[in-house]
Symmetry: C2
Subunit: 107 residues, 2 copies
Amino acid sequence: MKEKNQVRDVYVAIADPTRRKLLRLLADAEELPLYELTAQFQMGRTAVSKHLAILKEAGLVADRKVGRETRYRLNAAPLQEIKDWVSFYEKFWNEKVAVLKNLLSEE
Amino acid sequence: MKEKNQVRDVYVAIADPTRRKLLRLLADAEELPLYELTAQFQMGRTAVSKHLAILKEAGLVADRKVGRETRYRLNAAPLQEIKDWVSFYEKFWNEKVAVLKNLLSEE
DNA sequence: TTGACAGGACACCAATTGGTGTCATATAAT
DNA sequence: ATTATATGACACCAATTGGTGTCCTGTCAA
């Protein structure tokens, strides 16, 4: 019973602008079926569905079937990993600002 | 004089684990030549060089030539874009925690 | 001055990505 | 009962990605 349950990289999942837009749409709407999401893009349904599958594998969306439609909703939790990662680098751009301040105050 | 100056997507740049490791190495070491960076990976010099080129196009690293070597250093500033993007979603995972707290306090 | 070392610039390749169209099936509406 | 809708499941395709090896040019050291 090899439940594949493929876990996708969150970094890769958010690298695509279409997928980021999907996340944003779901953030604003709580729950949306595929056909409504598709309406927001120029590409076909199949393509949007695949993007959603990738987001799902990354744990960023969940879906449930309601009648004949599949409704998607946001699950932002995995994004904490991104936040933690990027937080580490904050000190570096702050550092830069500090150096700049010093230079300015010296003149 | 079409200076291409190709600007790469920061999201795409950080999607690769090798490139994230490169950023981390540069964060810890201030400035490193290609051959020292290459030594930290199993892949060849050419591959690492290409990853660095992508990071450079995304503005995440800068390089300078010193004698026969090319030294790379971190520029974390573009990561602010990522931080801003992910910050928007913070409320969603906080929300979830809040809902959970409510459920727990109700029992 | 003769090697050895660092790296840029290619050409090349397999695997992955991001899209397409088509067909089948379940549900909803007339 | 019939038709329209929503979606899953494929097969297919071109472009991109992430790696390789080779060749050439600078630069440093003996």
